[in-house]
């Protein structure tokens, strides 16, 4: 993807070194400029105008992995062991940290690679789930799938 002249990358050498120890410039490519119109949860279900997050009944922000699994389950996703692309099936991969907090979700593409919205930063297409693992995003903990309509 070609960005405007003078575009300043947020996911850059400095931030990659700080947050993603397994990520190299050879293992991903940028697919959008940075934006805060949507986050990774929205991008995983192809929504681009919502910052999807949850609050408990008291209005406190809720990042428990269970809440996110329930959200995707209510959308028709179910847990699977198969992270390979299948025709007619949408797949997402959820990351969590050691405190069982949701940290990130990626979506599988038809070419077998994954697409992720990096918070407020750029979207990227990355070769494997592991390149975003460890340190800031925790680890991918499960795959969910849903038959396409």
């Amino acid at each position: 993807m070609i960005f405007q002249p003078g575009y300043i990358y947020s996911l850059n050498e400095h931030s990659i070194k700080k947050h993603f120890p397994n990520l190299t410039f050879e293992s991903f490519k940028y697919t959008s400029e940075k934006t805060d119109d949507y986050n990774c949860a929205a991008w995983s279900i192809e929504i681009e105008d919502e910052w999807i997050q949850f609050r408990d009944p008291k209005g406190m922000l809720d990042v428990s992995i269970t809440t996110y699994i329930n959200y995707f389950t209510n959308l028709g996703f179910s847990i699977t062991n198969d992270k390979n692309f299948e025709e007619g099936v949408k797949k997402i991969a959820i990351y969590k940290n050691e405190q069982d907090e949701f940290k990130h979700v990626a979506r599988l593409m038809s070419n077998g690679k994954w697409t992720s919205k990096i918070g407020d930063w750029e979207d990227i297409e990355h070769d494997t789930l592991e390149v975003l693992a460890d340190r800031s995003y925790g680890k991918p903990c499960l795959i969910m799938e849903k038959r396409k309509d």
């Binding site: 947020s10 996911l11 400095h14 931030s15 700080k18 947050h19 940075k34 934006t35 805060d36 119109d37 986050n39 990774c40 949860a41 105008d49 919502e50 910052w51 999807i52 997050q53 609050r55 209005g59 922000l61 809720d62 990042v63 907090e101 949701f102 940290k103 990130h104 919205k117 990096i118 918070g119 407020d120 930063w121 800031s136 995003y137």
Partner: protein
């Protein structure tokens, strides 16, 4: 242009601060700090000159610049540390809390920074500092609505 005339006997005379000379204060003028009005006043033997007004503006501008500089440094650091996260929960870290600790003086800069990417996450900080909340529950997942809501609030309160 002239500032308000204040009776010179209310102030203690001392040698004029040389920095005021750059503002056009006469070299033979005196200056004094008025605690009540929180301003420096330079005056000559004859009358309070326009320098009084200039000095007041200069000192206030210095104070705002200090807060603004602190905010800018913290906001940049905060973005580097948390911009990758998709939950407001994980964006509230030490840098964010330091911004909140700057208090009410930082509110205009928070409102201005709303327009930048990630700015909607200042919602929690603004709520805590101002003790107000112009964002309805159904709009909390819309960065656009959060930015619009706080901007309207800021304009209504003459902060931006």
């Amino acid at each position: 242009m002239k500032g308000n005339i204040i009776h010179k006997d209310s102030y203690n005379k001392k040698e004029c601060n040389t920095s005021y000379k750059k503002e056009g204060v006469p070299s033979h003028a005196y200056d004094s700090f008025n605690k009540e009005k929180n301003i420096y006043i330079a005056y000559t033997d004859d009358e309070i000159s326009v320098s009084y007004w200039l000095i007041e503006r200069k000192s206030i501008k210095r104070e705002i610049s200090r807060i603004e500089q602190q905010f800018n440094e913290l906001a940049n650091k905060w973005r580097e540390e948390t911009g990758l996260f998709s939950t407001s929960f994980h964006k509230i870290n030490d840098s964010y809390l330091e911004v909140i600790s700057l208090g009410k003086e930082v509110v205009p800069f928070l409102l201005r920074d709303l327009q930048n990417i990630g700015g909607a996450n200042w919602h929690t900080a603004l709520k805590i500092i101002t003790k107000e909340n112009p964002i309805s529950e159904q709009d909390l997942n819309s960065t656009k609505k959060i930015k619009e809501g706080w901007t309207a609030w800021g304009r209504k309160n003459n902060l931006i």
